[in-house]
Subunit: 285 residues, 2 copies
Amino acid sequence: VFERLTIIGVGLIGGSLARAARRAGVCREIVGIGRDEKQLQKGIELGVIDRYSTDIAAGVADAECVVVAVPLGAMHSVFQQLKGKLPEAALLTDVGSAKGSVVEDLRAVFGEIPTGFVPGHPIAGTEQSGVEASFAELFEQRRVILTPLPESGSEAVDKVRALWESTGAEVVEMEVAHHDEILAATSHLPHLLAYALVDALARGEQGEEIFRYAAGGFRDFSRIASSHPVMWRDISLANRDAILTMLKRFSDDLDELARAIKEGDGDRLLEIFSRAKAARDRYCE
Amino acid sequence: VFERLTIIGVGLIGGSLARAARRAGVCREIVGIGRDEKQLQKGIELGVIDRYSTDIAAGVADAECVVVAVPLGAMHSVFQQLKGKLPEAALLTDVGSAKGSVVEDLRAVFGEIPTGFVPGHPIAGTEQSGVEASFAELFEQRRVILTPLPESGSEAVDKVRALWESTGAEVVEMEVAHHDEILAATSHLPHLLAYALVDALARGEQGEEIFRYAAGGFRDFSRIASSHPVMWRDISLANRDAILTMLKRFSDDLDELARAIKEGDGDRLLEIFSRAKAARDRYCE
């Protein structure tokens, strides 16, 4: 599919994409670009990338397909360094967990959206980060959402789709705003709840003691509070509107639960819990 | 330790205690008491209990140690049926997830707390229920909290402790109110959040679609929303005050998060997320 795949940000996602693409044989050479030379060296040692550059302009000079796999907060700066350096014919895609902010950043920097640009988001990850944590199977049977823009060329969309399909992922397309609403609900809100819960417990009077009595349910529930704080700060800010809408809806639901508990309304509680259990059992296993 | 162990409510917890006690050889005979004769028959077939009764009064006539393993909402009724029938010298303990309400129920029915009564709570469980889901290893390396009352005899406490220790659990003692606060924070609140989240998503416009994009984090986070609705209705009502206090604290934290997102206060978000991650990583793995 490609002579050369260029990945800016060779961490968990960028590194796993490189490994998967190599395994699938969809490119002959993989170039890593980043700021941390040690990480890039590690990427070479692990066989994840073939060569690297710490300079974006130099690194993309011969690029055919550039995947930007940096935190959302770094997108704007990466686009500034790409401006005027990205070859005209090159594809450009990203892996950001919010899509509206990435499109905004690119439009602000580039002035207009290049036809080679296809925003993307693989719904996959672990609580780990860094190239050492990357693995070729990360995207297998996971979904990758592409949110092509009116400006995106259909050939560009096809090629980015082919790249992701080669990793074993199922690729779906939807609008930017729809993506951001769905992710706010299924991923961003749960992370905020887990962070808020763990923080509320850690700051309570019982402090350490309380975690000693946390059983399996709590461990499962709070696992995502071990995720990368910088990444989640960026996501929270990048997908602000959709997240605030979901937070409000959730808070209203929680207020209703609190009211039912206060009033001793067991029927109402049973109704809510039963409906939630039915939805969880139907959709999630 | 015992000639005979009598378990009222042979479900996941009662059945697992029976299996573990038998494996440890701490009793010669295990008697199951319940309302559902099919479940009790199943208990016999599975070798969990040796004989059964569907009548509490008859079932406890020769009891030496009675474990009440019914939902919190059924405790009051079980105590009414036990009143005047429980042999004077018998131990009485329970496995309720809230302790204040159980003590209240017993005091309301019995008038005074018998010296043989030692409230208990094994912090263990799965999302399954029923005797078929029971297994002898459920309590291994888990904590069991006993909340002895001023009335509880020290011999009774020692024997109930020995029973739980025989299952491989670590037994700790604390006050009733302290237990209820800790469980509200580490177990009851997370369950309410998971139920509220899944229900909020299920009721949203996207409905089914939204669950299709729920990744591993969401699955982990929402697993406990598959728990038994009746059990959680009972817990919510039984531990009302401690739960409402924790819900309020959590809501305040969530409001603060929402405010930081609205104001674009990345430093504040990073501080909260980092503190939560540090606590999760320190205490939970």
